[in-house]
Symmetry: C2
Subunit: 460 residues, 2 copies
Amino acid sequence: MNTIEQMERFVEPRSIAIIGVPRRTGEDAFNILENLLNYGFSGRLYPVNPLIDRILGIKAYSSVKEIPEVVDLAVIATPRPPVLDIVKECTEKGIKAMVIVAQGFADGDEEGKALQAEIMRIAKAAGARILGPNSLGVANAFNNLNTSFVMSNMEKIPVGIICQSGIFFPGLHRLIPVGKAIDLANASDIDFSDGLEYFENDPDIRVILLHIEGIGNGKRFVDVASRVTKRKPIIALKSGKSAHGAKAVQSHTGSLSGRTEAYDASFRQCGIIQVGDIEELGDLAKSFLRLPLMKGKKLGVVSITGAGGVLTSDACQKYGLEMAELEPTTLAKIRELFPPWLHVDNPVDFWPAFQLSGHPYREVIKRLLELVAADHGVDGIVFVSGVFANKELWDPSEDIIEVAHAFESKPIACWLYGPFPEIADKLEGYGKTVVFPTYDRAVRALARLREYAEFLEREP
Amino acid sequence: MNTIEQMERFVEPRSIAIIGVPRRTGEDAFNILENLLNYGFSGRLYPVNPLIDRILGIKAYSSVKEIPEVVDLAVIATPRPPVLDIVKECTEKGIKAMVIVAQGFADGDEEGKALQAEIMRIAKAAGARILGPNSLGVANAFNNLNTSFVMSNMEKIPVGIICQSGIFFPGLHRLIPVGKAIDLANASDIDFSDGLEYFENDPDIRVILLHIEGIGNGKRFVDVASRVTKRKPIIALKSGKSAHGAKAVQSHTGSLSGRTEAYDASFRQCGIIQVGDIEELGDLAKSFLRLPLMKGKKLGVVSITGAGGVLTSDACQKYGLEMAELEPTTLAKIRELFPPWLHVDNPVDFWPAFQLSGHPYREVIKRLLELVAADHGVDGIVFVSGVFANKELWDPSEDIIEVAHAFESKPIACWLYGPFPEIADKLEGYGKTVVFPTYDRAVRALARLREYAEFLEREP
């Protein structure tokens, strides 16, 4: 059985045993069985708890051995002490995939480290795979599966994350938009390479995110990641880069966070895009999902505000892009919309066009976006506007989307400010652009689209 | 008449003439008179438009000369051509403060530059002051005054901004929380030093923000700013720092953006906190308003997530803070809450404390925050938690606020994630902490509080 088939047991199980289901139910009972029922998981569920007969209308079993089938996945959600015995029972039953939720193994004391080693030995001998310990397990919105004891919002977003923390589960797409999540946590067995091989071939997933505290088998990771990045972008947040952070990693997942320079070099070599924080991880998930790559470094800026145009120009240099020099024909056509005293250049500051020349706002922005997108020297666009009235006349969404469709090869990133955020939400909803909270984050995301395009051009 | 009295005419006028009031009213008519009435401005208003008799129930005048008093402020909201004549009429009437809204002066062609110079000559000879051209004028939520033609939300927030763009007006506190705004735009006359002198002595304002494209009189600015920073923090976003941005500045406000290194050095010398983008400007406005300064560099981190603790440690090094070494007595008291296998250190990863040891969530976080805040080696705290249920038992707001009150000298910055953002909103509402969208921005803000404290210690 290959890695992908093994991973399918975790991410697409048809039957799950949950060992350690509590009696309590309700919003803050953190009951995995209840959560799975709420999500509408359609596979077979077997709660295991020797002290109860039934829970939420489902028969409970006193041990995994009594379950009338060999389940695809066992979620071991007890505290640490009984885990080793439960793993033994699961292997004896023939179960080949287990999530261990409890903490206090390689992330804990010496006893915990020894326990983890023993669990690994038993699992390996039985040909079973372990996710964790210290793991919330797996979330798969495409399958209504989520083994986290904390309820999450679930949405079928074609972004997969492989992480070492449950932090990416609660509220999933509020923090970063994710449709599938695999929490490696201590990564005693299932590791980043396994997750990558699964997502590489997963038709549901187009963008892969990593939250890495430490990687055990660096050589396999580089081999797998180098192959995957040619097909799907991988965006990584490396944690434990500071001296103190590295120390904290050891008591979090027991990982060795390793030399920062070595990770940086490997990521570059593999074509992995590295981000600085969680916010950028979320920005890039959306951007790689919705926007085409940048074919070159040249940015066109269409801005209702001169100040916004200047700030966007600054960000362009900060992130290694360049402001496009617009073609004379483009400039001439733009001038037709503008009062004669106005110097026309990139950034295109268009407020005077409709304020003084009497052209309606939407007509102006659509025409300018078309002209700048058609310019051969422009590889991507940042559009900046305030939304000053919650009216159709002042809502640029449809115009932006039409231009995005007409110029499929050029990303359009937006920054919309002002008192009507509902317009930004509407525009986001079309899924053809990303509306960023600032110009700075818009430019940063486009720069990363360029970085990935450069990698693909260099190593096709 | 001193600078402050001159500035009061702009920011606290009792009577305003609005020249160029349009006939149209309604959401997207951008009618300054209508906006002022909507805000509830209680001063006397005199619309000037020779083509109408009355508008919105108010008598209109055919010129400023017919207005039965010498108004404190004239807002000249016509296109460029008649502006020079209107300025002449205003000076002849004896009006000493004018906002010029029109574009196309120093920000436009040679004709515009000459016009601006001529306007300045006339105003100066008459002892009148000019704000603009190219300016939205002034917003003052404490006085229901806002001369922008775009409606803004107004809130009495003790933050004042001096800017060169109307971008800071629409939706004011959505972008950054501001209670008063002065848009210098071309800054032909009223400049940053004038604005600073006004805010220095303004009891409504505790934090001052600057959006700078260029400063004309650098020597006076350094003199004034150096004095003001000893009383109130000044936070500056310098725009036009890139080569292309500097070029764009010239067609935006006609300013010379100057050498970046010179600005950086002046800001350091004056104790001005410089930020990298608009988002940081907003973060710091809130932080300087609500949080005490950091007395030293040592950060304590209390985190529900080990991963969050690690990431916060990394950010600590990134922004020049240090992770505090907790006192042995603190560690011993923390251990009482924790399972024995758990390594206790800073960051304090507290999930196991209530998950395994059975202590209620709120009891744990309050106790830990108190212990860490009481530690003599800790100068500030980042609190990280998910909010996993919209229930009182899972709402940390009141506990955090109680600790913030008990330890008035130590800032507590929060990062709350998960599916219940309403809890973060509630916590923000108390005004004693700032809830950041990420750990990274929380640490960055605390580092800037330390930076300002260091300046005050160095130059008391």
